[in-house]
Structure formats: C-alpha cells, structure tokens
C-alpha cells in the first residue's frame, strides 16, 4: 500500500465518451438506445453476453445496464446497445435525450453467461425487461451453434403491450431449430397467445428441446420459481445460469450496494449458477417480500 496510484489509474476510471446514434421504442416505457463510442474501446467490443456497463449522464449520475446487443452477436463494433425501461430519474433523463446527445459508458463489468456450450440444447427463460440481457446470449448461440442444435426461448410479459424486442422475437420465431414460447400475465384484445406465467411452461419447454442448460433473467420472484422448476425438470443446478439485478453505484465491488451475502453482484456476477445461488439465501430477496 506504499505505491501511489499513477495518474493513468484515475483516467482509466473515467467513463468513455459516447453519443446516442439511434433509438427506437420497444414497448410502453421501454426503449433501445444505440450509443456510438467517440474512440474505439476494445474491451467493450469484446464484451460477453450478461456483462453490464455503467451508463453516465452528467448531472444525473450513473446506473447499471446489461449490454443488450454485442459484436459477438452481430452488433457493429464501436457501439453500445442498451434496452432501458423508464422507471426513475436517470432513466427519465435518458429518455429525454435526443440523437446526438452526449453520454458516458464505463465497463464492461462482471461475469456474463458461460462462453462455451453453444452446441448444447439450451432454454432461455425471460420475464419482462429480462429479455434484453438474454438477447445477445441467444443471438451469440444462434450464430455459433452447430446446425441442428435446438434452442428454446420462453418469454413472459405482463401484458401484450409490454412485450419488448418484438423484431428479435419475430426473427427467432422463424429460425430453424428454435422453439419460441410466449405468454402474458394479462391478455388484451387481439392477443391470441398463451396467458399465464412462464413458470408453468418450463417443463414443456425443457422437454421440447431436450434442454441440457438454461439461462434466466427477469424479476426475482420469477427467477426463484423458474430456476426451481428447471431443477425439478432435471437440469443440474450448475447448468442453470441466472442473471441477477441489483442497485449499483460503482460496478467495481467497492460501494457495497449490490452485495448478496458475501458476494458482489457487480464483480462476482451478475450471472450466477443456480448451484451458487442456492448457497446465497439473500439472492432473490425475502420469500414473503411484497416485491418478491
């Protein structure tokens, strides 16, 4: 501890300057932003599905968002794609940005989904905005898999109007060897699909593709019940990977906001195996939480 940090260490902690280069609405209160980095950032181009960045809006602060599209899944290098739901002050300010607005990006941070296994039958389970972090994982596997490797995608939304990434859903639906299961909790006129929660479809989706592994992202209550359903369907806890969400202020394991038992979601996760989470009693919050 006698070495004074060199000036480069301070500069390395700054956000990378970027601008909003494109945006489109996904659903009620949800929008995808494409950011163009001012200078190339090799680490961001090499980011893996499940990793996240800290988005910086000067004057408003920073918040963590998982990368929704990546070069390994077909995105253009030099870009950062975030699919964001407007829920608070910073996301409200982000939604007020126009194309050309200056922002900043730190990262990528954390441990993403496993990089191997593209040739194994896989089930992706997403709830609500949880589809965004899985998008690049799904696209990366579809690009890397051997022909004929079956993939199932199980997506549950609150209402038909809250479904996000509809272009991706439409593309996956017509891919060979991809089974797409969709459900909504509350149907609306014009919705002819399933009604219910994703957990009810887990066993059928596992059977449909002979899933050997799974990746999950969504609300904590859904993660808790879906992971348990996957384990009950025969998947090994170590083959079920769950992306957790937590409030974060630094992204680097220092601020303390995201710790779950003795682990930091930002640096030890955000992707954990279900086997790891079974040893972390606080992973999904209190079982009787009103928000569970």
């Amino acid at each position: 501890m006698s070495v004074v940090a060199p000036p480069d260490d301070f500069a390395a902690a700054l956000p990378h300057p970027a601008r909003v280069v494109a945006m489109h609405d996904e659903a009620e209160d949800t929008r995808t932003f494409v950011l163009g980095l001012a200078t190339p950032v090799p680490a961001l181009d090499a980011a893996r599905p499940g990793q996240f960045v800290m988005l910086s809006l000067l004057g408003h602060g920073e918040a963590a968002f998982t990368l929704a599209h990546l070069p390994c899944a077909g995105a253009a290098p030099g870009t950062v794609t975030l699919t964001v739901r407007r829920v608070g002050a910073l996301t409200g300010a982000f939604f007020a940005c126009e194309v050309g607005a200056s922002v900043g990006v730190r990262g990528p941070f954390g441990r993403g989904f496993p990089q191997d296994g593209a040739d194994r039958p896989t089930l992706y389970v997403a709830g609500g905005c949880g589809l965004a972090p899985l998008r690049s994982a799904i696209d990366a596997q579809l690009r890397a898999r051997a022909a004929g490797t079956p993939v199932a995608i199980l997506y549950g939304a609150r209402t038909p109007g809250s479904r996000i990434l509809r272009a991706s859903l439409a593309g996956w639906r017509v891919q060979p060897d991809v089974a797409l299961f969709e459900t909504v909790e509350e149907a609306a006129p014009g919705w002819h699909g399933r009604t219910g929660v994703v957990t009810e479809l887990v066993a059928a989706a596992v059977a449909a593709v002979g899933a050997e592994r799974a990746a999950l992202c969504g609300p904590p209550g859904m993660l808790r019940s879906a992971a348990a359903a996957l384990a009950a369907a025969g998947l090994a806890p170590g083959a079920i990977h769950v992306a957790l969400e937590r409030y974060m202020k630094c992204g680097t394991g220092l601020c303390g906001h995201c710790y779950v038992n003795d682990r930091d979601v930002c640096s030890d996760g955000p992707v954990f195996s279900y086997g790891e989470l079974l040893a972390l009693p606080d992973a999904f919050g209190p079982a009787d939480s009103a928000f569970g």
């Binding site: 501890m1 006698s2 070495v3 004074v4 940090a5 060199p6 000036p7 260490d9 301070f10 500069a11 902690a13 700054l14 956000p15 300057p17 000067l58 004057g59 408003h60 602060g61 920073e62 918040a63 739901r85 829920v87 608070g88 996301t91 200056s102 900043g104 609300p219 904590p220 969400e245 937590r246 409030y247 202020k249 630094c250 680097t252 220092l254 601020c255 303390g256 906001h257 995201c258 710790y259 779950v260 038992n261 003795d262 040893a279 972390l280 009693p281 606080d282 919050g285 209190p286 939480s289 009103a290 928000f291 569970g292």
Partner: protein, 343 residues
Amino acid sequence: MDACVLASRAAVDRIRRALALDRRVIEPRTVEGAPVWTATNGEGALAWSTAAPLAGVKGWLVPPREPVLAWDDTGAMRPVVPCPERVAFVGLRACDLAAIAHLDAHFGSDPWYRARRAAAFLVGLDCSGACAGGFCLEVDAGPFARAPFDLNLTALPDGRVVVAWGSAAGVAALHGAGVASTPVDDGTALLLAELAAGAAASFPVRPYVARGLARMNAAPAGGAIADEEWQAVGPRCLACTGCTSLCPTCTCFTVVDEPVGAGGTRARIWDSCLLEGFQRQASGHHPAPRPGDRVRRFWYHKLSRDFAGPTGRLGCVGCGRCDVACPGTIGALGVLAALGGER
C-alpha cells in the same frame, strides 16, 4: 524478537518531531474532556494514556466526500486526482490498525484510496488493557497491534518503550530521529509476553460474545439464527447511521452528481446499508425491505467469517464505537448479547 528496538520515551518524542518535519503529526489529545485526533506538530510529550478518539481516522483515508470526476461546460470530463496532505497518525490502537488492514484489502485497487493511504504514516500504540466497551480480544484485533503499521509502540512499566517497525518508511523514521539500535533482549521479550497476557486478562468475561459469534458463523450462512430473531431486533435500529459513520471498517458509499452551472462534479459520499433505500431498486424490488433484513445484513457483514478477507479477521474490530453511537441497544455488543442469549 526482531524488527524492534528498545528506546526511551524521549526518543519516541524525537521520532514524533522528526516526523513533523515533513508531515502533519496527528495524535489523540483531550479536547473539552474527550479524546480527539489533533494536529500537534509533534510538540510536547506523547499523551501515552489518552484513550482512542470516538471518531477514528477513516475520514482521512476515505473522506466523507471524495470528488472523483469533474466536467466542464463542453461536457469534457477529467478525473479529480487527490493531493492528500502527508500525515502521521501517532497513537493508533490495535483496533484502528486492524480496521486499516480491512480498508487496505477492500480499497487496494482504488487509486483514490491508494493516494491517500500512501500519504499516511501509521504509528501504533499498544493498549495495556481493555478499554470501556472494547472487545478487540474476542475478535482477534487487539489489544496488541499487528500490521499494517510503520512503527508501533509498546510502553514498558519501567518507562522504556519497545518500538517495532513494519515498513521501510518506519525504519527510515527511526534513523531520521537518530534512535539508537538497541536490540530487545530475552528478558524484555519475556516482559512483553507478560504484558500481552496481562492486557488480555484485563478483559471482562463475556461468554455471550463467543456464543453470538458461533451462531453467526454456523452453516449455512446465518442459518442458525431464525428470521424472527432478526425481525425482533430490527425495529430497535432507528437508521440514524451513527454506527456506520463511526465504524472504522464501514466502506459503503453512494455516488452523486453535483452540477454547478453547466459543469459539475461527481463525488462519492459515505452511505449506510442501514438506510431503507440502500438496496431498493428502481423496479420496486427490495432485497432487504424490512428493518430486520437490513440489520441482519449489516451484522452478517461485520461478524461473519465469510467476510474475513486476506487478514483472516472479522469485519468487526471490537472497538465498541457502535455501542456508544447507538441511541438504542444494537451496537455490536448489544447484538452479540441478543444472539448469545444474554438478554
């Protein structure tokens, strides 16, 4: 016995004055009846018997507000590089040194911390016995100091002092003060061992501490303590954050943007995991929605070996400051008494 010499109290005062030549020397002095870290310039004699101040030195190493980034009216960003004053803390007790070891492990990768830490020279002072409310012995943090110190002082009953060094800077300080190298002989080493044993024996017998720690560390994590126990304790926390502010190992911070005109500053500010909003997410999900959840999480962080880190010691250093600060009864000893069945 190595890495230490025998010196006189006058020699220790020469070291303090030598340190003051290029550092601000900060020592516990009694101010309005209470010990306070005070800039002394190394003047006068060391106040050997002054107790540890209620506020530790965390605020020098991890300031309550640390600017990290500034931007101008063009949106250009620059890091705010700290220029910390060179300081020497003289009279750090074992608990405070154990806490600094904890801070070193936690913030070792952080350039802001490293800059401040590198500017600090640490002189420990061993405790001759238990202080009121202190339980460093039970959490393996004292009363005799261990690394990290540059120098450490152990006062002998005959007026001599054993000065140990823990760094090259400490050795240089001894040389700079012209302290003669008088090796510690076997008799003095035996005396030191007797002093340490006497200091340990001075602690009150509190079997509930060991019982509480054992329950806290039973597998699975926290599983030996029923949720109902924590929910019963939780409402006793007023979320005043006195304990987390005074705790020498609390490291949590938030980050705020402070716009000024078209520019501004981004700063880290001390935060507290006992505040209701600490983990509440924008989505509405709250991992710790009840006071008992937050109290459990806080004490798990302090008293579980899951957080022992590279020193192998708990996040709690047994200084007892939280018991003093708590307007209720759930400082560390209060919680251990509850967990250990004392009340």
